[in-house]
Subunit: 139 residues, 4 copies
């Protein structure tokens, strides 16, 4: 069903998400989750996961969740703002990210997401605001 | 000289930055800039540049600039917060990003960056807060 | 003219802005500025200006600027997101804040603002995203 | 006990918090909460609660919580970043805000807070990053 959703919302596993080796685990209007194995391509210069990867994973989940909510209304979504806090540096291992809706309005949505390591320790947390666009509206 | 700086600050062109095909153009304590050609690996599901790529490019430049400022003090830097606004959807072409310091304190730094397309139109803008760590301090 | 604008945009000097003793200096589609004298009512517990005052001043200017842009289109504006960085602690004196537009779209606007002390030193900086609502739309 | 804590952490009910009529309900290392009755002094020009008031309440709770955590370590705290999302416009009534820690590190802390109306509907949500300063360090 996830694959189904993915092709419907046209949000994965293509482009950046595929490039980063991210696997979507679940995608419903109430929760979206993913995981990925940290490799060298996720690192910044000091050998820890690049903050942009955390921002990007949070953006991915928020966008996917918001798209699933918006699709039955004939809407598409586009990210407006991404605000991410970095909590713990990670060098390797498997990371798990979960996003949940804060508001699922008809005009905008807000989703928040957190990323944890295999021991359940918080790695990053963020919030994304998205705009819902009625069909025919330009991105 | 960039390669030199890069090896000194240990921030490029490795890992995520190399993976994304980003080229650092200049890196001084007053300004850091880069450019990249948009390809499919930068896209989200609708075929536009993934917001996480913009966040990541802004994080990259801020981190590089802050590291250059911190290094002569015997400090390293680590990102605390990334706040990015998405202004214009981009599907293809060359993007140019420039970051400048807001504050370069001994404890924390703030850098802001903007991303523009080839016509000079604003695509994204963000601000990154970084922590300066004295030598021997854990990331 | 400011008073005129103020009554038009219906944004000052009432409510919180009046309570905080903030004086609007200029308000055009390209720039909005204000100043205020720091008193005890702006302080948090350590006797420095409360971060929320800086957030609020930035929100005020962004909202006023966006409202001036939106009014000729028959639109109202409402803030979606406020992201503010605190740079320098201030105990007293006169503060000056200036906001300028980042984007003035028909659906959303982004304004950024900075607050400086009498010596011109940066005290806080922030960005506000606002939604433009066509007449008749509920806030 | 709250009054006791308040005088210890030196964070209330003085200054902006008193001016805004905010009542702290609980303040522990795990949760800080407050409430206030919306009046004209909380309004922006359209007669709804000013976004800056929400930012300020969130900043207040995060600072108070972080200060309670930091005090036994001989540390003080200062806000670095405030990122707040506005969810629902409110004109009147009683608002309740609750903050909880995201991370309580020795160098920085992150607290998140939400504001709800009397029906429990989410009004605003935000995250604050604070710096912990060892005794003798300048704010």
């Amino acid at each position: 069903m996830i694959d189904d959703l993915a092709s419907h919302v046209n949000a994965l596993p293509t482009g950046w998400v595929r490039e980063m080796g991210i696997t979507i685990l679940a995608a419903t209007p109430d929760e979206v989750s993913c995981e990925w194995e940290v490799t060298e391509k996720h690192h910044q210069g000091y050998g820890i996961v690049h903050g942009g990867v955390h921002c990007g994973v949070i953006e991915t989940l928020a966008s996917l969740g918001a798209a699933i909510v918006a699709r039955p209304r004939g809407q598409r979504v586009v990210g407006l703002e991404n605000s991410t806090s970095f909590i713990r540096a990670v060098r390797s291992g498997r990371l798990l990210a979960v996003a949940r809706p804060v508001t699922r309005g008809r005009t905008t949505q807000v989703w928040e997401a957190s990323i944890r390591d295999e021991e359940g320790r918080l790695v990053a947390e963020g919030r994304v605001r998205l705009l819902c666009l009625d069909e025919g509206r330009e991105l």
